[in-house]
């Protein structure tokens, strides 16, 4: 039986909640009598459980949360809302998408786009500047890392220990379809780094009109922002078109960088699965690359 691929987030959350519950249990066992006093004294209390008592007297709208967000919400509410919304999203998509992994008719595609806009609040487009991908629902395969500049190797590719886990994917022998991401190592920017990290390869050469105007299409596709969504788990990433491929004979319709595949929980080989991929209309370059979530 295939083992479920658990994301880093889910894994960390599970371990931390386990630890949290253990400490909570210790507190309640050791100090139950004293905590009951709090229940009598506090005017803040709106629920009866001792565990909830401390939390309610200390709403989570402060401290750590302010460092990453200005939107305070109790944890349970965040989790419940997010789970419900994700389930709604997945249900809607499953009704819209065909049972087989096949090109989606334009009327269906329009509904899928509306769904993506509704849930991700991003400017998702099936067509941009009169150009379309050859398909927007297809099987994704694993790509390797790309050389970001001349002389980039696996030894120089990662800057944090956590990124080293992507080392084993290796580096493609040649450059990507658009050449190097940066003219040299000393000139590389965070934007270049992110473009290589969060890239997909799409079959640019199969898009309608490509062969008639290769230069214009290549210019259009180069680092074009795309929203990629795993319709089976709701995970999504903002990526760029960083390469052209895979070949038609591979049976795959697009490729994802090691980081993209890992985050979306998609695999290559016999376990490969589908994703949705649509352009993002972002002329002012305001949308960050990387994981994104249902709003």
């Amino acid at each position: 039986m295939a083992k479920r691929n658990v994301s880093d987030f889910e894994h960390i959350k599970r371990l931390w909640l386990k630890r949290h519950k253990r400490i909570q249990r210790q507190l309640i066992i050791k100090h139950k009598g004293s905590l009951s006093e709090l229940e009598k004294h506090s005017k803040h209390i709106v629920a009866g459980s001792l565990g909830g008592l401390l939390i309610l007297s200390h709403p989570t709208n402060a401290t750590l949360l302010n460092q990453v967000s200005t939107r305070p919400q109790p944890n349970e509410e965040i989790v419940t809302n997010a789970m419900q919304r994700k389930q709604q999203f997945l249900d809607e998509l499953s009704k819209q998408l065909p049972k087989q992994i096949e090109p989606v008719p334009e009327d269906v595609e329009r509904k899928v786009v509306e769904t993506l806009i509704k849930y991700f609040d991003l400017p998702v487009r099936a067509e941009l500047e009169g150009k379309r991908l050859n398909r927007t629902y297809g099987l994704i395969g694993a790509e390797q890392h790309l050389m970001r500049y001349s002389g980039d190797t696996m030894a120089s590719h990662f800057s944090t220990p956590a990124e080293n886990r992507f080392h084993s994917s290796g580096m493609a022998p040649g450059r990507g379809a658009w050449g190097y991401f940066s003219p040299s190592r000393s000139e590389i920017t965070q934007k270049d780094i992110d473009r290589e990290k969060y890239y997909i390869a799409v079959q640019t050469f199969l898009s309608k009109g490509y062969m008639e105007n290769v230069r214009e299409f290549a210019s259009f596709f180069k680092y074009r922002k795309v929203l990629v969504v795993n319709p089976e788990n709701g995970k999504a990433m903002v990526v760029v078109v960083g390469d052209a491929g895979p070949g038609k004979s591979t049976g795959k319709h697009l490729g994802g960088s090691p980081e993209v595949m890992d985050y979306l929980e998609r695999q290559d080989g016999r376990a490969k699965g589908p994703v949705l991929y649509f352009f993002l209309d972002d002329p002012d370059d305001t949308i960050s690359l990387g994981p994104t979530a249902i709003k």
Binding site: R19, H20, I23, Q24, H31, L54, L64, N75, A82, T292
Partner: protein, 124 residues
């Protein structure tokens, strides 16, 4: 300046003793969304809160516990510290140590996961 729980506007009575930077740095190395990070930090905050209350209650006599809890419920930080300075010894150090141990365990949890991923074979 380091990112710190001290930067927050609303504080717990122990806020000035907590350094969250190591956990933030560790989470920065994991590919997660802001919403996911926020959710994880909520768990950190709550776990920290329980740990602190646990340490303090463990150092107080029963009659003082009631007073402490009453002050906590009303967010009366001055009264809490007045009580703790009279009734406990080195409580700040004990809170710091307890929280540091828990945060280090949480960081270890993350590192175990990232190390495991490093050893994984590539897919396909």
């Amino acid at each position: 300046m380091k990112k710190s729980i001290r930067q927050a506007q609303d504080k717990h009575f122990y806020t000035h003793l907590i350094e969250i930077e190591p956990i933030l740095t560790t989470l920065d190395e994991v590919v997660i969304t802001d919403a996911e990070k926020k959710e994880l930090l909520t768990i950190v905050e709550r776990t920290t809160h329980y740990a602190v209350i646990n340490v303090v209650l463990g150092k107080l006599k029963n009659e003082d516990k009631k007073q402490f809890i009453s002050h906590v419920a009303k967010d009366e930080h001055d009264k809490i510290w007045e009580l703790l300075s009279k009734k406990t010894k080195d409580i700040e150090k004990k809170i710091k140590n307890a929280v540091r141990d828990i945060h280090l365990s949480m960081i270890d949890d993350v590192k175990k996961i990232t190390r495991k991923q490093t050893r994984k074979k590539p897919a396909g």
